[in-house]
């Protein structure tokens, strides 16, 4: 970076002042004290880095104008940038204007300056008297500090950071502390762990309880088994106790049974014998009772009287016919009523015609089946023919009149017809007149065409005259040109055009002349007839034609009328003939049925119907008469039958009505039937009793056989022997039963398989008693032990449950708390680790940094110091271990800092500073600013110093502020070989610059 130009709008005492720097080399600014040199330096700093508001307020111009200005700098890449700052603009923020006119902000400027601050800039590139005063004693760490100060952070800030980190670390953890956070956390964890350790006994307790529970459970199981065994034992002995009487009973019966031979006997023998005897008595008494009954039945049968079987059958047949007879009597009466009714009907129908017809005559008439229809047809036909005849007569009369009227019309139309000759003349006259008119019209048209043709030809002729003139002019022109130019073909042209002109004119003219000479056409003229006469003649002709046509038409009509008239007359005759034939047929019918003569033809049909009805009724009457006769016969036959049966039974005749006789017969038959039923019943009862008696005899025989078999089976012959044998058998059976009973009891007590284990063992009652007492004692002991074991198990289980439920919860909570606190500690430890690492690294970096740069700086400082002191001193030594600086003179004598004069110390300081600046700004060169740094230098060394500055200015931009004229002179001495500009700041400076 280089300073190019500065312009102060207002800054301290500087108002609207511009200043141009020497771009290369040295700019020496000379001015008295208070002349504004320091203010100018502050202005540069202000432009580059800005100023806090308070400082800005200090530099606000007293007279007028706003605080601010601009500084033009050139960046390392050659880019020119104008930095502007004004108090009133964004709180003194920079506006950077690039060569392109682009504006950039404060941030951009900071980026360009690469982290450089006002402090670093001052400590590195500005050399002032104040620094020298403040820097009386140079120590190694101070140089280090300075080097560090030259870094981005600055020594003091690094120290601040270090202290802050130490503090943070200490707040967190101290190996022997108690207050820091982590130490507290450790204590907390210790406490929780101790509490948790206390809980460790729970585990042991739980284990012990579990073991105890297992042990007690085993014990209980063992005791339970013993108790069960003892209980089983007791049950067995109790069973034996109960079984003892049965065992004895069994053994006793077995002993008795062994004494006699065992008899095998039908167990039911005695019972069967008794039963057979009982049956024998019962059958005997039954037999006697049945015999008595049989005798009684025979008596009763003998006392019943019955009718002869044949007579009863006849009586039953008569009674069966009784129904039919009753019906016949009723039907006979009905027939009689019907006969009377028909007779009355016939009489009623005949009555109106009684004078001409009687029933007898009617009965005798031969009437074919459809005579009524035939008679009806006669009447209809007669009426129809009569109507046809009348119609036809009317038609004949009408046709005659029509014919007459047509004949009259023909006569009327014939009047207008002309005679033949007259008609021919009239027609010729009219034809001639029409031809004359047609010729006249043709001639007129022809004349008109001619006139139009003439006009056209005349026009053509006029045109040909014009062409003739044109061609002649052309021919003349060709001729003149040919004559003048002597071109032979132009003559031919002239001739051709002239000839063409004349030829066409001649042709057109001839045509014109021909037309013009043609004569006008004459139109022939005949004298036409007068118009009225022709009309009249035409009318006469038309009337003749119409009349002729009309007569022809009417003549045809007349012929048709004549034909129709003849036809109708024929039809009338035919009808009359038919009527005559019908009358012949009617007369023939009257001859056959004379009564018709006295009856109108129209009533014939009705009379026909009547006659047929009466004949039908007479037929019915004859049939009824026949039925009455038949019925009467059958009634009489039945009544005869009844009286005959009566006589046979009662042997006497009776005159009582048939109906009374019939009821007596009915009663007799009924009584006989009842007597027969009784007789039959008694008979069956008697037969049954006889069968019963036979059965009784059979039973008695069986009983005797059975009794015989019983005795045989028991190997006895009598009843007494049988009873004795049976008593022995019963005794044996009783013993067997006793054994079985005892066995059943023992099976119930023990079991089917083990009951006999205790028989024949000779067990005594007192043995059983003893065993039971013993068992009872053992049981009591076991139960007591079990009770105790159970109680202990319950206690242990309860305790373990308690442990599981209560302590485990507390433990779980503590455990989680412990884990959380541990994790907190872990987190804190990480934070501490970060601070520890940060702090260590910072310290290490600081040392490395200083060590690394110090050597290089001291070497360069030696060069500068040796030169400035004119090689009086030849080396600067740094004892890093003791943080001590010494210098060596050309006699190789070593001097501590305190042993040097103030001036030499300043020179050493400047030498080191320059060396540091050079070292630091290797990559980013910046202007050096020297401000009256040589106060304590003697003249010689001041010259050497100026020489060094000039030497520096060959590579760097250097600005030298001084208030001493001799320095100005010294600088001027170098101005020939070096790029130097000198500016004097005095009263006239501002005016001078204003002018420029």
């Amino acid at each position: 970076m280089r300073f190019i130009k500065a312009h102060m709008h207002g800054f301290g005492k500087w108002v609207d002042t511009s200043f141009t720097f020497n771009e290369q080399g040295l700019t020496c600014i000379v001015g008295d004290n208070e002349s504004g040199k320091s203010t100018f330096q502050t202005f540069i700093s202000f432009m580059l880095f800005g100023l806090p508001p308070k400082k800005r307020a200090f530099y606000r111009p007293k007279t007028s104008g706003t605080l601010g200005g601009e500084l033009v700098i050139q960046l390392d890449d050659g880019e020119m940038v104008t930095i502007q700052r004004f108090d009133g603009h964004k709180n003194g923020a920079a506006i950077c204007i690039l060569e392109s006119g682009e504006e950039q902000s404060e941030e951009w400027l900071q980026t360009v300056l690469k982290g450089m601050t006002a402090e670093i800039f001052a400590s590195t590139f500005q050399f002032s008297t104040e620094d020298l005063y403040a820097f009386q004693q140079i120590e190694v760490d101070q140089i280090g500090e300075v080097l560090l100060n030259a870094s981005i952070s600055g020594a003091s800030h690094v120290r601040e950071v270090e202290e802050e980190l130490e503090q943070k670390k200490d707040d967190l953890f101290k190996p022997r502390g108690t207050r820091p956070k982590m130490n507290e956390q450790l204590q907390r964890l210790d406490t929780i762990q101790q509490q948790l350790n206390k809980h460790a006994h729970i585990q042991e307790e739980h284990q012990a309880l579990t073991e105890q529970i297992t042990q007690k459970t085993d014990e209980i199981n063992h005791l339970q088994k013993n108790i069960n065994d003892t209980r089983k034992d007791r049950i067995t002995w109790e069973q034996v106790q109960r079984a003892l009487p049965y065992i004895q009973k069994y053994e006793q019966a077995e002993k008795e049974l062994a004494q006699t031979e065992v008899i095998s006997l039908n167990e039911d023998g005695p019972h069967l014998l008794t039963e057979q005897k009982r049956l024998q008595q019962e059958y005997m008494s039954n037999k006697e009772l049945i015999q008595k009954n049989i005798d009684r039945y025979i008596d009763e049968m003998n006392n019943i009287s019955l009718l002869d079987k044949h007579i009863v059958e006849e009586g039953k047949a008569i009674l069966q016919e009784k129904e039919e007879w009753t019906y016949n009597v009723r039907f006979h009466n009905d027939l009689k009523r019907e006969r009377d009714y028909i007779q009355t009907e016939i009489d009623t129908k005949v009555h109106p015609y009684i004078r001409i017809l009687t029933p007898e005559t009617i009965d005798a008439l031969d009437m074919p089946p459809f005579i009524d229809k035939k008679w009806k047809e006669f009447a209809r036909k007669a009426a129809q023919l009569d109507d046809q005849r009348l119609d036809q007569a009317e038609t004949v009369k009408h046709k005659g009149e029509t014919l007459k009227s047509v004949e009259e019309k023909i006569t009327k139309a014939s009047i207008n017809i002309l005679p033949k000759d007259e008609y021919k003349d009239l027609k010729e006259t009219l034809s001639l007149d029409e031809q004359t008119r047609s010729n006249e019209w043709y001639m007129q048209t022809l004349a008109q065409e001619k006139s139009e043709q003439k006009k056209r030809i005349h026009k053509n002729y006029q045109q040909s005259v014009k062409i003739l003139l044109g061609t002649n002019v052309v021919a003349l022109l060709f001729g003149v040109i040919a004559f003048l130019s002597s071109i032979p073909w132009l003559y031919y042209g002239a001739i051709v055009s002239a000839v063409f002109g004349w030829v066409q004119w001649y042709y057109k003219r001839t045509e014109y002349a021909r037309v013009d000479n043609e004569q006008q056409l004459e139109v022939p003229s005949i004298d036409p007839l007068e118009k009225e006469k022709i009309i009249s003649l035409q009318e006469q002709l038309d009337a003749h034609i119409r009349a002729t046509e009309s007569v022809a038409f009417l003549t045809r009509q007349k012929e048709e009328a004549e034909y129709e008239y003849a036809h109708t007359q024929r039809a009338l005759k035919d009808i009359e003939t038919e009527e005559q034939q019908l009358n012949v047929a009617i007369e023939h019918e009257v001859l056959r049925y004379p009564f018709l003569d006295r009856i109108e033809l129209s009533d014939w049909e009705d009379i026909g119907h009547l006659l047929q009805d009466i004949q039908s009724l007479q037929l019915q009457l004859r049939d009824v008469h026949r039925q009455i006769e038949q019925n009467k016969q059958s009634i009489e036959l039945f009544e005869q039958k009844v009286r005959t049966w009566w006589n046979t039974i009662f042997h006497e005749s009776n005159s009582e009505p048939t109906r009374t006789l019939l009821s007596t017969i009915e009663q007799s038959i009924h009584e006989d039937m009842k007597a027969r039923q009784r007789h039959e019943k008694v008979y069956f009862e008697k037969e049954e009793a006889i069968e019963h008696k036979r059965q009784m005899n059979e039973h008695l025989r069986q009983v005797e056989q059975t009794m015989k078999a019983i005795f045989q089976e028991a190997h006895v012959t009598s009843e007494e022997e049988f009873i004795q044998q049976h008593e022995i058998y019963l005794e044996q059976q009783q013993n067997i039963n006793s054994m079985n009973e005892a066995k059943q009891q023992l099976i119930q007590i023990f079991s089917l398989t083990t009951w006999d284990a205790y028989v024949h063992q000779e067990i005594e009652a007192h043995t059983v008693e003893y065993e039971l007492q013993n068992n009872h004692q053992r049981m009591k002991e076991y139960e007591k032990e079990l009770e105790e074991a159970r109680s202990k198990l319950a206690t242990a289980t309860a305790e373990r449950t308690h442990v599981e439920q209560t302590d485990s919860l507390t433990y779980s909570e503590r455990m989680h708390m412990f884990e959380i606190e541990k994790e907190k500690l872990q987190e804190l430890s990480k934070t501490w680790a970060i601070y520890e690492v940060t702090s260590s690294i910072l310290q290490q970096t600081k040392q490395t940094y200083m060590r690394k740069h110090l050597d290089a700086v001291i070497r360069r400082a030696t060069e500068h110091f040796s030169y400035i002191t004119n090689h009086r001193y030849i080396r600067v030594h740094v004892d890093i271990e003791n943080e001590h600086i010494r210098v060596e003179d050309n006699n190789h004598t070593f001097y501590d800092m305190e042993e040097l004069s103030k001036g030499t110390r300043d020179q050493l300081y400047i030498a080191i500073r320059i060396a540091m600046s050079e070292h630091i700004q290797k990559n980013t060169p910046k202007p050096y600013i020297f401000d009256d740094s040589f106060v304590h230098f003697d003249k010689k060394r001041t010259e050497r110093m100026i020489d060094r500055i000039i030497y520096l200015s060959r590579q760097h931009q250097v600005v030298l502020f001084t208030c001493k004229d001799e320095i100005e002179q010294m600088v001027s001495a170098y101005s020939k070989e070096n790029d130097i500009s000198i500016v004097r700041i005095d009263e006239s400076f501002m005016v001078k610059y204003d002018e420029t």
């Binding site: 980026t111 982290g115 560090l148 981005i152 433990y811 779980s812 430890s829």
Partner: protein
């Protein structure tokens, strides 16, 4: 024709084991969190009863022995008893956290519980209606570590038994997140004629193979941010032709990692808005959620806010509005992540800083933190730091120093 069987396969219940990264939870939430592993087991029992399964398989790490939690063991025992009341058998194999010899308590389980009592692979027959339907194979860790390949020791017994199910608590070859105990290869399992491989040990749910199923059900309740998402068990139905697997969530609290891009966020209001915006989509979730939020690309302004403790305050404010709901939400951690490369302020050219950067390359964190980690009292409670953690500390220290040296000076 094989009869259908159904069972529940769960593993790594880690009942009553501690949660990581939740040091500052409010009391109510803390209680919910601490009881969540128990709740998961209760939920499992409810599911088994509701689905009327034949049996339940618990494949290791049911509790952590080194925590000595009797509460956990008693809870498991009670759960098994409840299953027993519904005629549901329980087959238990112990893993590296609940190994046989480490058990501080001797608990007596109900008769429906079948525990593999040795490191030798054995089997229990599962009998239903007097008919052996399945053989359940397995083993338990006797000591904390089993390094042998146990898969090769599984051999099918009894050809007439319809189903053969193997329980194996161990690491599949490619797994690197968990201790490589009882390691095996998928191919080795496929060589064996088992109908179902019920695995345990790996906490993330994985179906390694479909037919036959080789399944890690994962753990039943997430306990830190790396165990995020749904957690539970598998409800398995098997018949002649196929196995049907249904995942049943059992977790009562979910861990959720959220990244928020805060490149353009500068003020505390904007941070709050960004957090709300990120969390609001979870309003409809049916389980409480613990959020771990990472703010990506945090700018200087945010780091400043974080250093001043404003972000922490903001999170407290946010939490106070979420934590009282029935289905609560809680941000247990918020972290600012930033890239130095993107911030020009860190690109200052400076010899000291260059030296500093150079210094980091040779820094050994371990020796620097010795005073604390070798401290007599502290080392009993502190866990030695992993390399990643040391690296993180180094990185944090670097940022801290840069912040202190460069930013705090207000350059």
């Amino acid at each position: 024709m094989r009869k259908e069987i159904s069972f529940i396969h769960a593993a790594d219940l880690h009942i009553d084991s501690p949660f990581k990264g939740l040091t500052h939870l409010p009391e109510t939430i803390k209680q919910d969190v601490l009881s969540s592993t128990f709740t998961a087991l209760d939920q499992l029992v409810r599911t088994a009863i509701a689905k009327k399964v034949d049996f339940v398989l618990l494949v290791g790490d049911i509790f952590d022995h080194n925590l000595h939690s009797l509460k956990a063991q008693v809870h498991v025992r009670t759960a098994c008893e409840k299953l027993g009341e519904h005629d549901i058998d329980v087959f238990i194999s112990f893993g590296n956290h609940d190994y046989l010899k480490g058990s501080p308590f001797q608990l007596t389980f109900s008769p429906n519980v079948h525990i593999f009592q040795s490191e030798e692979v054995t089997y229990f027959p599962y009998v239903k209606n007097n008919e052996t339907i399945a053989h359940i194979y397995g083993f338990s860790y006797e000591n904390q570590a089993v390094t042998a390949n146990k898969a090769v020791e599984f051999n099918k017994q009894g050809d007439n038994v319809p189903y053969h199910i193997a329980m194996l608590h161990g690491s599949v070859d490619q797994q690197t997140d968990h201790e490589p105990y009882a390691p095996f290869k998928t191919a080795e399992l496929l060589q064996k004629p088992f109908d179902y491989w019920a695995l345990g040990h790996v906490h993330s749910r994985t179906i390694i193979h479909e037919n036959p199923p080789i399944v890690y059900p994962g753990n039943t309740q997430g306990r830190h941010r790396r165990e995020s998402g749904e957690k539970g068990c598998y409800y398995v139905k098997m018949n002649q032709s196929a196995a049907n697997l249904e995942f049943i969530p059992l977790h009562s609290i979910e861990f959720k990692d959220i990244d928020i891009d805060v490149t353009h966020v500068e003020t505390i209001d904007e941070v709050e808005h960004a957090i709300q915006h990120a969390i609001n989509p979870y309003d409809t979730m049916q389980t409480p959620i613990l959020f771990h939020i990472t703010c990506k690309n945090a700018q200087y302004a945010l780091i400043e806010l974080e250093k001043k403790g404003y972000i922490e305050e903001l999170v407290d404010v946010c939490n106070s509005s979420y934590e009282h709901a029935h289905i609560w939400k809680y941000i247990y951690k918020i972290r600012m992540e930033h890239e130095h490369g993107q911030d020009q302020r860190f690109q200052v050219e400076d010899h000291f800083l260059t030296e500093l950067e150079h210094m980091w390359e040779h820094t050994q964190v371990e020796s620097l933190i010795e005073p604390l980690f070798n401290h007599v009292q502290a080392r009993t409670f502190l866990q030695q730091l992993s390399n990643a953690e040391k690296e993180a500390i180094k990185q944090a220290a670097r940022e801290e120093l840069l912040y202190a040296l460069v930013h705090k000076r207000g350059i």
